[in-house]
Symmetry: C3
Subunit: 404 residues, 3 copies
């Protein structure tokens, strides 16, 4: 299948379709550079699509965007997740025990009592959702006969193991020549959800930042529950002994009794620790007058960091997953802005944290990521978090979050 480049006028953005189920098209390999678009800016960039081969990753599509300063890798085959981001010596990502970018054909979400998702989990950014996003276990649903029945939800939902149906690259012909990777992932069925995700992952040539801009739409005729959790996973070099998570925190609640024992140091990280049991904290954040907030992770020396800006109106909950286990077990922390917390949906529903979409209603999630190099840049980012906190108090709960 040859790729067809858009022949649109030069003032229109450059537009390249890489996958289109609608048009029966999938491009195996493709590349474009700033030179080919005759862009003479100070920073040369490249967008490259290729296909992985071998083992469990055979046939997996990946798109690498190198904006000349920062690189990220999108995986259309795994629900438009982002495998990793690199800038200088900073890598956003982690060293999962899962080493390949596993094709969904090898994932059985129901395996291991609903934990099969963990056999493919190694990306930096994984979306959890859309019908359900949290812990496995029983919940209710409505069958074809209109009756309530029970089903076993599987960990973190399906969206990360659904291939994108439409994928395209869009690049502005006018400065700032923003580079977009866009994709649509469908979670649709008869007698079930008809949810559609459009994601737009973009950056500018030479920038130290990028944006993930998602829209979830209910394509069904009825009101539809949904959940969205962004599982953002960091290992070294940002995560290390003495690394810190900073957030303008209004309330922090341990998810269980084990996490409760260490709630006071929730933002501090230990070295890889053999036998470490995960500690999970449910956070509610302060935001500015326009509901924007920001959180960050910096290394021990506070000279390398990544920050994330988002809207608490869009993503009112943030879960902090600390899993500073031995390197071979997966030394990782998850920063997880979401529509709720990662309990089973029946619990989330009980506490009013499962949003609904009216027919054809959309809900948007915009996240701005930035990498900060050098102590000054890190301090600037930390100051921003401090300003958002604005001296307001943090409620530290000693009791776990209620589930009944």
């Amino acid at each position: 299948m040859k790729a067809k480049a858009s022949a649109a006028a030069n003032t229109q953005p450059f537009h390249q379709i890489l996958t289109s189920a609608e048009h029966g098209l999938r491009v195996d390999t493709w590349q474009i550079t700033s030179r080919e678009l005759d862009q003479r800016g100070p920073t040369a960039w490249t967008v490259r699509k290729h296909t992985l081969h071998g083992g469990k990753q055979d046939g997996v599509d990946v798109i690498e965007v190198d904006n000349g300063r920062l690189r990220f890798t999108v995986v259309p085959t795994r629900g438009m997740g982002v495998l990793r981001v690199d800038m200088g010596d900073v890598r956003l990502g982690w060293d999962s025990p899962v080493r390949e970018v596993v094709h969904p054909q090898y994932i059985n979400l129901q395996s291991r009592g609903g934990l099969g998702w963990l056999e493919g989990f190694n990306e930096w950014l994984v979306r959890c959702g859309l019908e359900f996003a949290g812990a496995p276990g029983r919940d209710q649903f409505v069958t074809n006969t209109g009756a309530e029945a029970e089903m076993d939800l599987t960990l973190h939902g399906k969206i990360a193991n659904i291939p994108a149906s439409e994928v395209e690259v869009v690049i502005g012909r006018e400065p700032p020549h923003r580079i977009h990777v866009r994709g649509r992932v469908d979670e649709r069925m008869l007698f079930g959800p008809k949810l559609e995700l459009w994601t737009d992952i973009s950056t500018e040539p030479g920038a130290e930042a990028f944006r993930v801009d998602d829209t979830v739409r209910n394509c069904g005729a009825h009101e539809q529950e949904f959940q969205m959790l962004y599982h953002l996973n960091f290992g070294p070099p940002l995560l290390e002994k003495g690394a810190r998570f900073l957030a303008p925190t209004r309330q922090v609640t341990p998810i269980n009794a084990h996490a409760a024992t260490a709630v006071n140091g929730f933002g501090e990280y230990a070295a890889p620790t053999k036998g470490y049991i995960e500690q999970v904290y449910c956070l509610q954040l302060y935001a500015d007058g326009r509901d924007r907030t920001a959180v960050m992770l910096h290394n021990a020396a506070a000279d390398r960091a990544a920050s994330l800006g988002f809207s608490t109106a869009q993503l009112p909950c943030l879960t902090l997953w600390k899993n500073t286990a031995a390197m071979a077990e997966g030394y990782v922390t998850g920063i997880e802005p979401a529509t709720g917390f990662p309990h089973n949906r029946r619990i989330e529903r009980k506490f009013g944290r499962v949003p609904k979409l009216a027919p054809n209603q959309r809900r948007r999630f915009t996240m701005d990521f930035q990498i900060h190099l050098g102590p000054e840049a890190v301090k600037l980012a930390a100051d921003r978090v401090a300003r958002l906190q604005g001296g307001r108090p943090t409620q530290m709960d000693s009791d776990p979050m209620p589930v009944e």
Copy 2:
């Protein structure tokens, strides 16, 4: 892989293998036309095999037969189902919430309490079976030790998500130059069923009709239960407010209390109705002296219709599935001739509706489909149904079909 055309003498039918697991062969794209076979009849025809790409349909084989008057699309990768049929402005098929022709690698039949089948359901003709064909839920089976154990059956069985192992196109060199798409689908395992389906889907150049001619064989050494249900699904244009289902009906029994409330209008259809809950009716039909019967669906104006002729000896039960929900939810009716009704197999067995095949025994299912354009053609078809009824009474049951 290059396709090898048969070099047989010209009096032998033209024969093209498209898939053969036995010979390690799969043809990616291929086409033949009446011109290439030097057929100078009044109607030019085409048979084209290609492969879908993109999203969940990547790698799905499809075969399109255009007999010059009528077109149908067979999907070898999905158990030789028929995606759609088109003639003039009539389309046999429906607008499922599932938009792609989903590759079986993305289907987990056990998902959602055994309803995973619904994530791939969008064809016009889907076979349900072969080991089991009905509702999900517990049933017994015999293990390797000869002991009875329990397993969870999944909705409508496996056959629609098994790729055909052998696929071929056969075309008569002599008039009427009948065009056949044939395929074999295996449902075989150790300590389980060894069932084989051969289907032959055929038409004649210029015809308004086509035939589905299936043979199921028990390849095992022991008597084997099986079930076969043809899930034939119609949306617009035939299905619309005022459309009617006609059948020479001996008895109609609602499947549950909800359907019982509307049994009197079981053959009439509503407009797309938000919140409509499916109504399902179990029918037994009258037939002629050779066990042939016919049913049909016509639009509101009674100037467009499709009819189906089959044998009540082969397919003694017919289920009518009315799901006139909102368009976005799947506005569809299913006309489902079968060996039984779509209850869980344990119920069907209890009521004597699960047939068995002796070792090497075959059972054949032949269905003749026709599309009728214009009020005269529709009236002729309706008259045929009326003659089969022959003024005999229809027993309308007000109580649901017993399941205990």
Copy 3:
């Protein structure tokens, strides 16, 4: 993807990578012969890699080694199993009801109450393991929170349905020019096992023997249970009425009451028998001073046989699976050296038969197979088994192996 031949010096073994997830590489077809390596020995050999097409086997990699005397077929896509071995008129393998080499994408291990494995089972050598290897059913595991939970194990584990991530062919440039097919299969996940299998399957040009040399390594940071069972399956011509299994047997225990009824003839085989229910025996063997033992299967005339030498320190248990059912049902016997017996892991654990690996610890399993043609060769092999028995008694248990 073009294969890149190693450009190493001629004294280094010839080395060809066929699959490498690490390098994003998969070779579709490839071949090498003794002539191309300029080897002028008495026996011409060939190694050929190709890809199966059609039906459920589409995309399955196979490697055929023909050492000039003996041929075997390795299936990287199915966990580096060995489909069959042929020498003269002897075939190691069987005629399973499953006729294709089924791609793992079509296997749902959880199907049929955990028996989905049987839908792909047709190889001569299938590894069962690595996390669990036996019967399906409930067992405990440790979740992400460190809590004990329950999961349903599936029959014979996952390893046979995981594609190899690295595959290579290595051939000695110096006599005896040993030919190796090597592969790595990963069974790794977060919050679960991090087990790695490296297999080296090798033979010498002209030899009547070959070796399977496996190493399992625990890549995690914690002690890890594992199980390994080699399911070696024989049908005709070695299996026939009057065929015999010979082993230096210290103790034989029927697995259940049904097998107990026929324990005295456990080493003798019947003709294909309609309605035969499997009989399974758990054996412990005598070995020589270096823990080496040998077992064999010979035909009725005792002029065709296959033998297997291995270490009882490595593989302390041997299960004999007799399934002399009708040909169409699968006429087969399994000779299954293993780390334990094929009960559910919870039973094996209770009786101390589930080994553990310390972090980074390896355990090696080496099996030497030989085919014996002619009565003299068979007698020599049988004499070796008799010497290993050395007149020592066999304890024949009349009661089934305890499970409580």
